[in-house]
């Protein structure tokens, strides 16, 4: 069994290595035919604009073979920017191409690429995704066989370099951060990766997928393997099994398959479980226009999205707490609860962190609402400037700062450093909205079981949201916190059966002067000294 587990790990590491290296495998050469294939869409106006760039770009690249994406991209971008600058200098605004340089280079890179991945795409798909999934699954299942009886085994979590900010943790941190930076900001560098997943993309939607398809497929694959790990680790705990199945289902079907298939049939590909303001571009004009153009389905999607915001969130949170979304449905939550589970103990439990969390997450919510307000004003009035603030600049700032850097690079990249819910805890505006409802109008709470707490600290340690659960449990108080995503792990790891997530009557849910029962002599535990004030 030990050998089998080692084999699984080996296969997985090989797959990750091949995947990482494949970024450097394609070489690039561009000619006019490829240029046209990549950029011309049949729209006369835009085709003419792109063709004006062909001379410069082709003279910089034609006849050369670039051995890697970086050199190719650099050449293309230089030619692109030179031409654009000329046009701008001449104030020929209609002829300027407003693509970001890296995006322009990315459009060309795919058709210009050649090399082993183009020739053996199927093999590469197998050696990266296939072998990674197989290796990961073998590792997880072999671990199960070695663990024996049911029950959560958190042994050595704080001894191991992977889960205790050791060298493995920092290595994973570096890889993830680099991955997200390249994925979000350098689309021209990742063509090697998106080529690998193209066969799947053609199969699903009949066209090349690009980096977002790659990311979607990777996301689903990672979640699947890590969900199997969850099933193994928490096998005695039905709440965990159901919850994990649910996030996996919503990710694969709602976030991945349904949108891709919608695209195949010519509809906008929409993730119907995404809710504004997490889905920050829900009200962006291109998004609204696309939906309005898509006929009755588009209208349905628009109305559906609005219903989720206005009715879905408050009603569902009232009955079940924000967990119905954050740890049962959400994609970010889904990744955090599967890939991120090994890192949950790294969240900061201090009062200071809680303070920062409250400022930060509500600031992001305010930012999102503000940006959306401007967006809607622009949409209906046609004015793109309000008080000398440009709506599109603010959208770009949000997209960059919050949508990419915070949610992606920090949100996931920082798992091995700061725990698996960095984004959900400090940044997600939807979590802030759900949390406000949960704090003030909900039936959900974590009940503390009388006087049974022994202050051991397992609950706080394994709370991914950094809630000091023990603080409440040891004074016999229910846990009612806006940030609680209801993952249920505090209850699962409690050795004395002290914590239970439940949806009960609102009355008495918040008990600020709790009674620690079992002590006749003292009826009230007058806990006035406060750590949290």
């Amino acid at each position: 069994m030990k050998q089998l587990r080692a084999l699984g790990l080996l296969l997985f590491l090989a797959a990750i290595s091949i995947f990482s290296v494949s970024l450097f495998l394609p070489s690039f050469s561009l000619d006019e035919a490829k240029y046209k294939e990549a950029l011309l869409t049949g729209n006369e106006q835009s085709d003419a604009r792109y063709m004006a760039f062909s001379e410069g770009v082709l003279s910089a690249t034609e006849g050369k073979c670039f051995s890697n994406a970086f050199a190719f991209s650099a050449a293309v971008r230089e030619a692109f920017e030179t031409k654009n600058n000329e046009l701008k200098a001449a104030e020929k605004w209609d002829e300027v191409v407003w693509d970001k340089p890296h995006e322009f280079a990315a459009s060309l890179a795919l058709t210009a690429s050649k090399g082993p991945i183009n020739d053996h795409t199927g093999w590469f798909l197998f050696l990266t995704f296939g072998m990674g999934i197989i290796g990961g699954t073998i590792y997880v299942l072999a671990n199960r066989a070695m663990q024996g009886t049911d029950g959560i085994k958190n042994d050595h979590i704080f001894h191991h370099a992977a889960t205790n900010r050791g060298w493995i943790g920092w290595l994973v941190f570096a890889w993830l951060v680099a991955f997200y930076i390249v994925l979000y900001f350098f689309p021209d560098y990742v063509v090697g990766w998106s080529m690998i997943t193209d066969p799947v993309s053609y199969f699903l939607k009949g066209s090349a997928g690009g980096r977002w398809f790659l990311y979607g497929l990777l996301y689903c694959s990672v979640m699947t393997v890590m969900a199997i790990r969850m099933f193994v680790k928490y096998r005695g705990n039905k709440y965990q099994i159901l919850r994990t199945s649910s996030v996996l289902f919503f990710q694969i079907c709602f976030a991945f398959l349904i949108p891709e298939i919608m695209v195949r049939f010519g509809y906008p590909g929409v993730d119907m479980k995404e809710i504004w303001p997490l889905d920050y571009d829900f009200f962006f004009d291109w998004n609204l226009s696309a939906k309005l153009r898509a006929g009755s389905l588009g209208i349905f999607l628009l109305v559906w999205g609005l219903i989720l915001i206005v009715v879905g969130v408050p009603v569902m949170v009232y009955f079940f707490g924000k967990r119905w979304y954050c740890s049962w449905v959400c994609g970010c939550g889904g990744l955090a609860e599967t890939l991120g589970d090994p890192y949950r103990q790294l969240s900061d439990k201090s009062v200071k962190a809680w303070k920062i969390e409250r400022y930060l997450i509500h600031a992001v919510l305010v930012f999102a609402v503000f940006m959306t307000g401007l967006t809607l004003y622009t949409f209906f009035s046609g004015e793109s400037e309000v008080f000398s603030m440009n709506t599109y600049d603010i959208q770009d700032t949000y997209k960059f700062m919050i949508g990419s850097v915070f949610a992606g690079v920090i949100g996931t990249g920082f798992y091995p450093a700061m725990g698996n819910r960095v984004w959900c805890r400090f940044g997600c505006p939807l979590a802030a909205y759900l949390g406000l409802v949960q704090r003030f109008k909900s039936r959900f709470r974590i009940t503390t079981n009388g006087g049974q707490c022994i202050s051991c600290g397992n609950c706080s340690t394994y709370c991914e949201m950094g809630i000091d659960v023990r603080w409440y449990a040891q004074r016999g108080q229910n846990i009612v916190r806006s940030s609680c995503v209801g993952c249920g792990i505090c209850s699962a790891v409690c050795p004395r059966g002290v914590l239970k997530l439940e949806n009960g009557p609102e009355e008495g849910r918040i008990n600020d002067n709790p009674i620690l029962i079992g002590h006749e002599g003292i009826q009230l535990s007058q806990d006035v000294t406060s750590n949290k004030a």
Binding site: G148, N449, C456
Partner: protein
């Protein structure tokens, strides 16, 4: 302003300090030689197993103490000068006090076995014991060739013993567990429950030897423990001996004083010792007259906490008697959680009848004890099923009948959501054994959280 000195920063001493602070602005000084800050002793095992670090076991952040003006001294109290009301400390200037609370805890029992003080022999109670255990065993996750302890013998079948066994198994140490009685934790658990736990330990590859007593410990040529010899004369080679046959009050440094002590520090029902302004709470206190149905020394987290609350009241002008409510306790044996409410003795008294149910896996069970004649509910043991403390406390207060408890058992279930329900099977067995025809009532939020009298 008075100075209140508290010796011991465990749950008893710290609870006392916190509760005094709520009511008064007296100077409060907590002295401990164990650790600079309060930590949860019950979590020592999790540090060893790598579930947590020491930092995680501290219930209050380090800034808490200063914020609440609680002075901490990390030092050993060498002597208490009761006549002049001052403490003589090892490295710190003497401390004058007006009131003194002794909350010195316990230390592991040693019953005079030959070899009990050899290197490689230890108990598990304090933070220092944990450090010693780290010294006495190889590190976590080391290669097989670097393991120094192949076999450990644990002596004494109680809670700490099973915890130590679980800890050592995570370091791939073979555990041989000697229990003097015919079942595990025989002075507390009835037969069925003792057997359930024993089965589970064996499932975890613990070599459990019941009815086996240690005679002595042998040393190797370096003077380290190398084998345990049983009363039957069997020699068990080992590299570590864990002494877990209970704990005794940690009062050695007080023995020569005028303080009245027996096994523990003698106190009355107000936790007052024979010396004015000196109190004793927690593990180290021994009652002249134990509260009804309780033992004179109770070394439990919860009772320590309650005594801390009580003495704090007395010290803030409201002389209060120690009155624990209905007995409750909990523990975890490897994967199986245990809770108890009310009284379930290891052997039933004459006026008691009991009902036992076990699920087919043999990993969940409940035992309910009730009055043979009146059917009044007396207590419950539950293994593998979580139950609501508040429900049972209410039923005990209301002198509910066992039938009432069985009928409303769903109200008491505290398992996580979606767990399979056991109540139907329990009620069915109860009906068939007692000839009743109870149908379990559906769980009711009104009964659970409401103020309705039941």
């Amino acid at each position: 302003m008075r100075t209140i000195a508290i010796i011991g920063n465990g749950i008893s001493g710290v609870t006392a300090a916190r509760n005094i602070r709520k009511k008064s602005s007296d100077r409060i000084v907590i002295i401990s030689v164990e650790t600079p800050h309060f930590f949860s002793r019950t979590a020592l095992m999790y540090i060893y197993m790598g579930h947590m670090k020491y930092e995680h076991t501290k219930p209050y952040e380090d800034h808490f103490w200063k914020k609440n003006n609680l002075e901490l001294i990390h030092d050993r109290v060498e002597t208490v000068d009761f006549d002049n009301k001052k403490l003589l400390l090892k490295n710190t200037p003497e401390l004058k006090y007006d009131s003194l609370v002794l909350a010195t805890g316990s230390s592991p029992n040693k019953f005079g076995w030959p070899g009990q003080d050899l290197p490689g022999v230890q108990g598990l109670y304090s933070f220092q014991d944990l450090e010693k255990l780290e010294e006495n065993t190889h590190g976590p996750l080391v290669a097989e060739s670097k393991r120094t302890v192949e076999t450990a013998v644990i002596v004494g079948g109680g809670l700490i013993g099973v915890e130590l066994a679980e800890m050592l198994l995570t370091r791939h140490v073979k555990v041989i567990f000697l229990v003097r009685e015919d079942r595990f934790w025989g002075n507390v658990l009835p037969k069925e429950e003792g057997e359930l736990v024993a089965r589970h330990m064996v499932e975890h590859h613990v070599d459990l030897r019941l009815n086996t007593e240690m005679d002595r410990i042998e040393a190797d040529e370096n003077g380290r423990a190398c084998a345990v010899i049983t009363k039957e004369g069997e020699r068990i080679p080992c590299q570590l001996v864990g002494l877990t046959a209970g704990v005794s009050p940690n009062i050695k440094f007080l023995k020569e004083s005028q303080l009245d002590t027996q096994r523990g520090i003698m106190v009355n029902e107000f936790l007052e010792t024979n010396i004015p302004d000196v109190y004793a709470i927690g593990d180290c206190a021994q009652f002249h007259q134990a509260p009804a149905g309780r033992r004179p020394i109770e070394q439990v987290w919860y009772t320590g906490r309650m005594m801390g609350e009580t003495v704090a009241r007395t010290l803030t002008g409201n002389r209060t008697q120690y009155q624990p409510g209905h007995w409750f306790n909990s523990a975890k044996f490897f994967d199986i959680e245990y809770q108890t409410y009310g009284v379930v003795p290891a052997r039933m008294n004459d006026h008691m009848a009991d009902f036992y149910w076990e699920d087919p896996t043999g990993k969940k069970c409940i035992k309910i004890v009730f009055n043979k004649d009146t059917h009044e509910f007396i207590g419950i043991n539950t293994f593998g099923i979580r139950m609501r403390h508040e429900r049972f406390d209410a039923w005990l207060n209301q002198n509910s009948t066992v039938e009432h408890v069985i009928e409303h058992l769903k109200d008491a279930n505290f398992d996580p959501e979606f767990y399979a329900s056991q109540e139907e099977a329990i009620v069915q067995k109860f009906n068939s054994e007692l000839g009743t025809s109870i149908t379990p009532k559906r769980k009711s939020w009104k009964r659970i959280f409401g103020k309705i009298a039941l």
